[in-house]
C-alpha cells in the first residue's frame, strides 16, 4: 500500500522507492534528488555525484528499466518507481555480464565513473536490442530492428558518460564484448 498523504507537508512527502527490489518508504523534502535519496537515505553509494547537473553520467541508474541521470530526477516525482543501482545488478555472487566484462577488460582506472558507466551500458544494451537508433545509425536501418553495436555506435550511445581517467578504449571494448 502506498502511504497516505497524512504525514505530508507542503514541502515534503512520504513516498516509496523500490530500490533493487526492496521497497523503501521515506519522508523526503521535495528538493531531494533521487541521487541524494539513494546515497543518503537508502545508504547505497554506488551511484556517484560527479557534476550534479546532468553533464557527466556518474549518477546513472535504471528507473523502471531505463537509464537516467538520478541527479536531475526529483525523488518526489518518482513515488512508486523501481530503481536499479549498480548494487542491484549482480545475481548474488555472480556479477552481471557487463560488470564481468569491465573487470576482464580493465575498463577503469580510478573507478569513479564506473557505476554510472555500467548502469548506462546495461540500459543502452536494452535500448539497442529494442531497436532504438542513435545519431550514427544509418537512416536506412530498418526501424525497430536491433542495432549492430559497432565501436562507433557504442561510443555515440555512451557519450553521456564521461571518464576523467580516459578509460574509454577499454570501456568500449568491454561493452562490445557483451554486445556480441
Amino acid at each position: 500500500m502506498e502511504p497516505t498523504s497524512q504525514q505530508e507537508t507542503a514541502h515534503s512527502s512520504v513516498l516509496t522507492l523500490h530500490v533493487n527490489g526492496t521497497p523503501h518508504t521515506l519522508t523526503l523534502d521535495h528538493r531531494t534528488t533521487l541521487l541524494d535519496a539513494l546515497r543518503e537515505q537508502v545508504g547505497l553509494t554506488g551511484a556517484k555525484k560527479g557534476c550534479d547537473h546532468g553533464q557527466c553520467g556518474a549518477c546513472t541508474v535504471l528507473v523502471d528499466g531505463r537509464r537516467a541521470n538520478s541527479c536531475l530526477l526529483l525523488a518526489a516525482a518518482h513515488n512508486g518507481a523501481h530503481v536499479t543501482t549498480v548494487e542491484g545488478l549482480a545475481d548474488g555472487e555472480r556479477l552481471h555480464p557487463v560488470q564481468q566484462a569491465f573487470v576482464a577488460r580493465d575498463a577503469l582506472q580510478c573507478g569513479y565513473c564506473t557505476p554510472g558507466q555500467i548502469c548506462s551500458a546495461v540500459g543502452m544494451l536494452a535500448e539497442a536490442a529494442e531497436g532504438h537508433p542513435s545519431y550514427v545509425t544509418p537512416p536506412e536501418h530498418p526501424p525497430g530492428a536491433p542495432a549492430a553495436l559497432t565501436a562507433h555506435e557504442i561510443r555515440e550511445r555512451m557519450s553521456g558518460n564521461l571518464c576523467r581517467c580516459g578509460a574509454y578504449p577499454n570501456i568500449v571494448d568491454a561493452i562490445g564484448e557483451v554486445a556480441t
Partner: protein, 328 residues
C-alpha cells in the same frame, strides 16, 4: 534551492486547475532543464505541478496522414518511433543529436520546446542578465558570446535557443497545441518561440498557466527527403554551434519543394524563408544551395567572437541539401 510544494497531476485539466492562484507555480516535465535551473537558483518555483505522467504519451496518426505527438512522449521514444524514423527523419536525427541517451529517456516533447538558453550569464545568478532579471543588462553582448546568436538578436539579448528538436519541427511545419485557463489554441512552431526584442525574458508566446498538450506534424509530401545536421565542439553530447534541418523534393534535377531551418544561430529555431525562395524552382546544384544559404545569412550580424558561425551554417546547409538531393 527554495522549498516548494509538489503535486502530480493525472489529467491536463487537473494540471491547469492546480495552477490557478499560484503565480509562481511551474509545470514539471522530465525536469532535465527545470531541476538544473532550480539547483542554480535561476528558477525558484514555489509549487511544482508534475505533468510528466499525464496521459499525453501517445504518438498517433492523424486523419490527414500527419502525426500527433503527445507532450509527455519522451525524446528517446519519439526518435525511435517507426513513423518518425521513416517519414520525419530530420526529427529523429535532431532528437538523437541532442543531449545523451539518459537525458533523452527523461526529457519530454513539451519540456524540450520550453528549455531555456544555455547562455552562461543566464545560468549564473551572480551576473546581470536581461533574460533572467529584466533591466539588468546583457553582459554577453561584449563578453562571452562565442556560442550565441548571429541572427535576430537585439541590444537586450543575444541568446540562442538550444533545442535541436525545435529546429526540425520548424522545418517540418509542426504546430504546438496549448491548453490553458482560457481554453485551447494551436500555434505554428515557427510562431511559438519569439525574438528577444526588448522582452528577452519571454522565450515563447506561451501564457501563464498554459500547458503544452502536444505537437502535430502535417503529412510528409510524397517524394520529399528530410534530414538534420549539427556542428558542435565535440563529436557528441554537446549543444549545437550551428545546425540545419532541411526538407527537399527534387524532380528532374530541379528543386520542387524546400524547407530549411537553422539552429544555434538565433533566439528561435530560424526558419530560412529567403533561402527557400532561392531554392524553389532552381537547379538542384551546390551552386544553388550556396546561393540559398547566402540569401538567408546575408541578414547575419555576428558578434565579436561568433562570426565563424556564418560560414559554418552555410557549409552545413549546402552539405545537408546536397546529401538529400543525392538520395532522391
Amino acid at each position: 534551492m527554495k522549498p516548494f510544494a509538489y503535486f502530480r497531476a493525472e489529467s491536463a485539466d487537473e494540471a491547469i486547475g492546480a495552477f490557478a492562484g499560484h503565480p509562481r507555480a511551474q509545470y514539471l516535465g522530465g525536469g532535465t532543464n527545470l531541476v538544473d535551473l532550480m539547483k542554480l537558483g535561476v528558477a525558484a518555483p514555489d509549487f511544482l505541478i508534475d505533468v510528466s505522467r499525464l496521459p499525453l504519451d501517445g504518438i498517433d496518426e492523424t486523419p490527414d496522414g500527419g502525426l500527433h505527438i503527445g507532450a509527455t512522449v519522451r525524446n528517446s521514444d519519439l526518435a525511435a518511433h517507426p513513423a518518425v524514423r521513416t517519414r520525419y527523419a530530420a526529427l529523429s536525427q535532431a532528437l538523437l543529436s541532442g543531449a545523451s541517451g539518459q537525458l533523452r529517456n527523461t526529457a519530454t516533447t513539451g519540456g524540450n520546446l520550453l528549455q531555456r538558453t544555455r547562455c552562461t550569464y543566464f545560468q549564473d545568478v551572480s551576473k546581470p542578465c536581461n533574460k533572467r532579471e529584466p533591466g539588468t543588462g546583457c553582459p554577453a553582448r561584449e563578453g562571452v558570446h562565442r556560442d550565441l546568436a548571429v541572427l535576430g538578436h537585439s541590444a537586450h539579448c543575444v541568446a540562442t535557443h538550444p533545442s535541436d528538436m525545435a529546429v526540425a519541427l520548424a522545418a517540418l511545419d509542426a504546430a504546438v497545441h496549448l491548453h490553458g485557463p482560457q481554453g485551447a489554441r494551436t500555434v505554428a512552431v515557427t510562431d511559438f518561440h519569439r525574438l528577444p526584442g526588448d522582452r528577452p525574458d519571454q522565450d515563447t508566446v506561451i501564457r501563464p498557466g498554459e500547458l503544452i498538450t502536444g505537437v502535430t506534424l502535417p503529412p510528409a509530401l510524397p517524394g520529399t527527403r528530410c534530414g538534420y545536421r549539427k556542428a558542435r565542439d565535440r563529436a557528441s553530447y554537446a549543444f549545437a554551434l550551428a545546425s540545419v534541418a532541411a526538407v527537399l523534393r527534387v524532380e528532374g534535377g530541379v528543386v520542387r519543394d524546400a524547407a530549411l531551418a537553422f539552429g544555434g544561430l538565433a533566439h528561435v529555431p530560424w526558419r530560412a524563408r529567403a533561402a527557400e525562395e532561392v531554392l524553389r524552382g532552381a537547379p538542384a546544384t551546390e551552386e544553388t544551395y550556396a546561393r540559398a544559404a547566402d540569401a538567408e545569412l546575408a541578414a547575419a550580424e555576428p558578434l565579436r567572437d561568433n562570426g565563424f558561425k556564418v560560414p559554418l551554417a552555410r557549409n552545413l546547409a549546402i552539405s545537408v541539401l546536397a546529401e538529400l538531393a543525392s538520395r532522391t
